[in-house]
């Protein structure tokens, strides 16, 4: 398998009310300088990718689609002048419906993007306003059409449930309309309230009206059943795809394999080390310009930690963790290390166990953390 590469574009038009990702209002920054810094960072790690082919490339954010056409050309320029893509490489680009037009779509295709991820989040205008999104539901649908017209044959829609003021009916309606569009892939997330965000603040102060836990669980359950019975494979806790259209790049994360990440806040895992860049754009560029690595956090997981991570990431995929794969990687048998935990979890009805693999049961999916905890050292 070739390399998995991630590139982060940390700029947005404005921050959504729930977001705690590294992202900044684009207007205040020198985007050109940032792109140049990206190129320099890639060169700093030349040894890691020179002479190797790239299997998956993922350009995420922030809002990568906030880049102007000129900036997009610049970005693709610096990518293609360094990386050699495999013939059937998966190249994903994240787009926000409020920032895309036919021209940009064309550029993306030329740049080699063959998978588009649209951050729709909701198809209900009320909800979108509450979330602080910059687009309407109509704009999201239009963006989808334009993407198809531009020739994209692999499109993902991001959708959220468990939103404040959202009823089960409203959620079901959104999902039905999304499925009607026939995207190849859907990422379906329950809202997580993060401290330090406007939602987090509202929650602290007690004026956030979230659906009850039962309702949220029900939304997740319904989503899974509906999508599964409409031709989508529920292949990861929050991800659904037509057969063969699973996101190969993300699978690299869940299989705890190596990947390279570039940009403010991006993470890499290679040579047994996990490096996370500083999320601060200015700091990132300053370090790069001084020829220094912009790493803020460095971890070298020991064997026990590597195993634990392989488990709690691997079990996110609903096919679970294969015994043969585990043994090949660690030279130890899965049952030798985790036999007791596996029996316990099977007893609780959270895990399924066959001779080849272990995986989350239907009951286990919404309670996945209870399962994951057991595999920590």
């Amino acid at each position: 398998m070739g390399l998995a590469v991630y590139i982060h574009i940390p700029f947005c038009v404005k921050k959504c009310n729930y977001c705690d990702f590294p992202s900044y209002p684009g207007a205040g920054y020198d985007v050109g300088a940032y792109l140049a810094a990206l190129g320099l960072e890639m060169d700093l790690y030349r040894d890691a990718w020179l002479g190797k082919e790239v299997s998956t490339l993922f350009i995420g954010g922030g809002t990568p689609s906030i880049l102007t056409e000129a900036q997009l050309e610049s970005l693709f320029g610096l990518i293609h002048s360094r990386f050699t893509l495999e013939e059937d490489a998966e190249v994903t680009f994240e787009g926000n419906p409020g920032t895309l037009d036919a021209g940009k779509f064309g550029l993306l295709r030329e740049g080699g993007v063959n998978r588009l991820s649209l951050g729709a989040q909701s198809l209900d205008d009320e909800m979108l306003k509450g979330l602080g999104r910059i687009h309407s539901s109509a704009e999201a649908l239009r963006a989808f059409e334009l993407a198809r017209a531009a020739g994209f044959k692999n499109i993902n829609l991001d959708l959220m449930h468990g939103l404040p003021g959202q009823s089960e009916g409203a959620w079901q309606d959104t999902l039905r309309r999304a499925v009607k569009l026939k995207p190849e892939h859907l990422s379906v997330y329950g809202l997580i309230i993060e401290a330090g965000t406007p939602f987090g603040q509202a929650f602290e102060e007690g004026y956030m009206e979230l659906p009850e836990e039962e309702v949220r669980a029900s939304m997740m359950q319904w989503g899974s059943e509906y999508l599964s019975s409409n031709g989508y494979t529920h292949y990861e806790i929050s991800n659904y795809a037509r057969p063969g259209r699973e996101c190969r790049h993300n699978i690299v994360y869940w299989q705890n394999e190596t990947y390279l990440g570039f940009g403010a806040g991006a993470a890499s895992y290679s040579g047994g080390c996990r490096r996370t860049n500083t999320p601060d754009v200015i700091g990132y560029m300053a370090k790069i310009q001084r020829g220094m690595v912009p790493v803020a956090e460095l971890e070298k997981p020991d064997l026990a930690q590597q195993m634990a991570e392989t488990m709690f990431l691997g079990l996110r995929m609903l096919n679970g963790v294969e015994r043969a794969r585990f043994a090949l990687r660690f030279g130890r048998e899965l049952d030798e290390i985790y036999g007791t935990q596996i029996s316990f979890l099977v007893g609780r009805g959270l895990l399924e166990n066959s001779s080849a693999a272990i995986w989350l049961t239907n009951r286990g999916v919404p309670l996945a953390n209870e399962v994951f905890c057991e595999f920590l050292p």
Partner: protein, 601 residues
């Protein structure tokens, strides 16, 4: 009597908490140069972090000071620091026996507190010379004249020569030292007589073994002495004798009148009994020194390790703590819900909390403490009377004729303004009014007869909060009284959890049951299934709550940059689980067992 003892003085400091005795002790140490300014960490004698945090002293420490007096002579002063809380009267009594005098420290604004009174009487009973010291005179609210009057009126002690001081500001320190020399008698005792040394405290040192703190009454002791413990007859060879300066310093010998420590490679903590007399096996004394007032535990609770594999470690830890705290009692017991553990006896609630924290902190044990209980006297229909310190051991209702509960005589000092509120509180706590006395224009002393179980249950905190901290409490056992007591049981998911049971007065059963089930509902985390919580008296369910089943506990997103953060989140969840005890099918946090204590009545 040796010449040397002329220049020796043994004294301790008696004071209410916060009246400044530790600060004063620091000043004395500093003034006499025992530690340089640089070496002084605030309140040196409180070496444990826990004590420092709470601002109270638990452990006795003894310090030898060398003071060059105005008369040109160098005097050796042994200062013994003492605890101030109502729970530790016994500890105070032991330090008193090692001294000839005591500094009575009274806050110039607060005046005499109930605890001060109790300890002063104890000191007077022990024939100690008492030097009144009025502290914190630098504060604007100080009223030294009033306090002097209080001392004379309430204790009957001559306060005309009381020393006015401010330990914080360093005022009066020299006067105190001079007064100690002038008024406190030098120790009596004959160094040529057979050895008699009183063990008033000890600690366990991993290299030296059990180290006993002693006051030599007669004779001498040095390295090589074959010392004999008079209570057990066991003989040990002394490896080291020394003094505290405040750290441990070896000396050649300790003579009559002196205070210090002795080490003899004693491996088993049970071989040094606090209160025992040490003598010389080769020239033994005939009679041991008179005994102490033995402390009676008032409050019991069950202590269980969360992980049953830690049982041995818990036992060892209790053994070690017992060495430094002979008032701690413990015997093994079993609970259906919790497995093997210990029934522990404490002097009071604070004592219990401190031991629990020390076990968790110093010995790294994850513990479950059951609700504190007092000892009930149960008179059975068959004529037998049994003492019950564990609610689960209460005989079945049909066998019981009557139940008696322990009562205490409680002395409460409170400012005038709060009298009404406290009388109300005492009423709520089933107290019976005995007496009210005005100590001064603004301070009242209330005496009540109250059930000990009510004191144990949240009384002290309520007292403090209703009087904004100004009230003080002292209590002593005052016999048993018949009472209508019932046993309240708790069922979780239909199963009786014996460790949650407690004995309560019939009239309070419903209120407590309801409050407890509500509290448990908050504390017990959602499980994979619904958990009904029921409080019952006999077969009657008097309160019920339900913990709904957990439906969602999952991290929706997890991509490259998230992994470290999500792992930490999972680790935190896992940590939370470690504090859970599996009881039947239900996971219960350790705090649940103490939930009984913290509910408002």
């Amino acid at each position: 009597m040796g010449e040397a003892s002329r220049y020796l003085r043994n004294f301790c400091i008696i004071a209410h908490i916060d009246h400044g005795k530790s600060t004063l002790a620091d000043r004395l140490i500093e003034y006499t140069g025992a530690l340089s300014q640089r070496e002084m960490a605030d309140q040196v004698l409180d070496t444990m972090d826990l004590e420092r945090e709470r601002g109270i002293t638990i452990k006795l420490q003894a310090v030898r000071l060398n003071y060059c007096a105005k008369d040109g002579q160098v005097y050796t002063l042994n200062l013994i620091d003492t605890p101030g809380h109502v729970d530790f009267t016994y500890e105070v009594s032991r330090s008193l026996a090692a001294c000839e005098g005591a500094l009575l420290v009274v806050d110039a604004a607060q005046g005499i507190e109930a605890q001060t009174l109790a300890n002063v009487y104890l000191a007077l009973e022990n024939n100690l010379e008492i030097i009144p010291v009025i502290n914190k005179i630098d504060l604007p609210s100080a009223e030294p004249e009033r306090v002097k009057q209080e001392i004379e009126d309430v204790i009957g002690l001559d306060a005309s020569e009381a020393i006015l001081a401010s330990a914080k500001a360093g005022i009066g320190v020299e006067e105190i030292l001079e007064e100690i020399i002038r008024k406190i008698p030098s120790p009596q005792g004959n160094d040529s007589a057979p050895l008699k040394a009183l063990i008033f405290d000890s600690h366990f040192d991993p290299y030296k073994g059990a180290v006993s703190y002693i006051r030599v009454m007669d004779g001498k002791i040095s390295k090589g002495t074959k010392m004999k413990m008079m209570s057990t007859g066991r003989i040990f060879e002394v490896t080291e004798v020394g003094v505290f300066v405040p750290s441990m310093k070896m000396v050649q010998e300790l003579k009559a009148g002196e205070v210090g420590f002795v080490a003899a490679s004693i491996k088993n903590v049970k071989d040094t009994q606090v209160g025992d007399t040490i003598t010389d096996a080769e020239n033994p004394a005939i009679y041991p020194l008179p005994g102490y007032r033995k402390a009676t535990p008032m409050v019991y609770c069950g202590l269980y390790p969360v992980d049953t594999a830690d049982y041995g470690d818990l036992r060892d830890a209790l053994d070690k703590l017992h060495l430094n705290d002979s008032s701690l009692e413990f015997v093994p017991e079993t609970s259906v819900a919790l497995g093997f553990g210990f029934r522990c006896g404490f002097l009071g609630l604070l004592h219990m909390e401190i031991i629990q924290e020390r076990l968790e902190r110093e010995y790294n044990l994850n513990l479950i403490t059951t609700a504190p209980s007092v000892v009930y006297r149960v008179n059975k229909l068959n004529g037998e009377t049994v003492l019950v310190d564990n609610p689960s051991n209460l005989p079945p209702v049909q066998e019981i004729l009557s139940i008696e509960e322990p009562n205490v005589k409680a002395t409460i000092m409170v400012p005038n303004d709060y009298v009404g509120g406290i009388m109300e509180l005492n009423q709520e706590k089933r107290g019976t009014y005995i007496n009210m006395e005005y100590l001064s224009a603004n301070r009242v002393m209330l005496t009540y007869d109250m059930p000990l179980s009510e004191i144990v249950f949240d009384y002290f905190d309520q007292l403090k909060s209703r009087t904004r901290g100004y009230a003080s409490l002292d209590y002593e056992l005052a016999g048993y009284k018949e009472s209508e007591m019932v046993k309240l049981d708790v069922l979780l998911n239909g199963e009786l959890v014996d460790a949650l049971s407690f004995i309560v007065h019939r009239d309070k059963a419903f209120g407590r049951g309801k409050a407890l089930t509500e509290k448990l509902k908050e504390i017990i985390p959602r499980q994979m299934f619904e958990v009904p919580i029921q409080a019952t008296v006999g077969t009657r369910v008097i309160a019920r709550e339900t913990v709904k089943a957990l439906r969602k506990n999952v991290l929706d997103k997890c991509y490259g940059g998230d992994i470290s953060r999500k792992r930490k989140l999972l680790e935190k969840q896992k940590e939370g689980k470690k504090r859970m005890k599996q009881v039947g099918n239900v996971e219960i946090p350790q705090e649940a067992f103490m939930a009984v204590l913290r509910i408002d009545d």
